[in-house]
Symmetry: C2
Subunit: 238 residues, 2 copies
DNA sequence: CGGGAATTTGACAATGATCAACAAGTGTGG
DNA sequence: CCACACTTGTTGATCATTGTCAAATTCCCG
């Protein structure tokens, strides 16, 4: 099980994953040199911020429970969510100095806080750790590039299908049910992730439901009925 | 001078830059351990591919001359250019296994080819090299996230202004003229970068010209007449 | 069960895409 | 060096997708 590996669309990981060092969320300690560094844990209410734009980058966070969204804003309030982080994911692995993003819990969440100092120590003391970090960031970059393709060139329906498929694949990677999706974020947040309005997200959700591709179970649960068709849609098979 | 540093929008670099190891394009050698590894050079015609989707990731490339575009495609031909690489920039620093992108010279270009083997050696032998790589990738991720905001939430005019401003800032960073921009790529390529059509790019270019913000000098040169106004536009001051 | 927030649905408007024609560069061969 | 062909860019007219505004509905939680 690969708790910190983000969705890499094309190839399996080839380097030992970060979880080898920082664990997968069970322990409150990280192995550093031959000792351990203690990390703290923090609970976040729904919509509580983990950090804000301009904050000093003092910690790296590992999501233990819930979902955290990282976003950027324009002066007039328009918002772009850059990434959703699920349990196991590492937030802020590579930021330097002060951050230009905001990070907000999208539902009640828990994170482990790892001081950047500890990360730096690990990088210089554990030979493979830096490479694992590099691999993690590489994966994050690959995901972000995929998202660029979605935002720049896909229709609303395709964007939504791509989004659902991404969650599904993530579940598969984590050995969870890949047809039963948990979406604790609101429609507005999905919209801010896909560059759409609430209404467009809602309409296309309905369209997928009517087409028999998904079933909506409450507001934050989606069951995929036809994964194949969803994948076709996501990649532009009209 | 910081030849491999990509555009970081917010803070100055804090770690020694990669150019310390791989140079800034003058030398054909890279310092490895106490010796040197030879790198090869490759000339590319306009629109020649450096690599294609599915190719094994054998080299990292440093642009020496020209501009290289990295892009992804959908089955039906829609294209999203993920990044433009100018002289000094490093391409494919973090890809693993086989790439899911294409890289194409947008004008006659020259690149230096560094075997991944050499990169790996550098990472394990030179203490700071891995961190410099991490910083490079972090910068690239930050740029890609900015582009997400553009694609997801900005209007066509704002996207174009943001794009021009990015080139301008890059020039400033490289100690070049920040009001005299060289855009060797076609309108179609700018469109594929911004998620717009040729026509929309052209129309908004005209609009900027009519508003007295830029002057067009031929097809691949733009002079910025009002940098301040351009910056306002880029960030949504209607 | 009730109240408030989130979502869905509908009508209409606007931004950007598409289709089409034209203009301006660019390169080539006579 | 010029003429012609071809590619690239510009401009115009129309259309479609998605955004905006408004109302109704559903969901959730106490």
């Amino acid at each position: 099980m690969n708790s910190v590996q983000l969705g890499h669309t094309n190839q399996p990981e080839q380097i030992a994953s970060l979880s080898q060092w920082i664990g997968n969320g069970q322990s409150a300690q990280i192995q550093v040199d031959r000792g351990f560094a203690t990390t703290s844990e923090r609970a976040l209410d729904s919509h509580e911020h983990l950090y804000m734009c301009g904050d000093q980058h003092t910690h790296v966070y590992q999501v233990l429970e819930g979902v955290v969204g990282v976003y950027q804003m324009l002066a007039d309030g328009r918002r772009q969510i850059v990434s959703f982080y699920y349990p196991g994911d590492l937030i802020g692995a590579v930021d330097q100095g002060s951050t230009s993003q905001h990070a907000e819990a999208l539902c009640a969440s828990r994170v482990r806080c790892i001081p950047v100092k500890t990360i730096e120590t690990l990088i210089s003391s554990q030979p493979g750790f830096g490479q694992a970090m590099l691999a993690t960031v590489a994966t994050e970059l690959a995901e972000t590039r995929d998202q660029l393709l979605s935002l720049g060139r896909k229709s609303a329906a395709e964007k939504l299908a791509t989004f659902l498929l991404r969650i599904s694949r993530r579940n598969a990677r984590e050995n969870q049910n890949d047809t039963q999706l948990y979406l604790p974020m609101t429609r507005a947040e999905i919209g801010d992730y896909l560059g759409l309005t609430i209404e467009t997200v809602s309409r296309n959700m309905t369209r997928l439901r009517v087409a028999g591709i998904i079933r909506l179970e409450g507001k934050s649960r989606v069951q995929i009925l036809n994964l194949e068709k969803l994948a076709e849609l996501a990649n532009g098979a009209s």
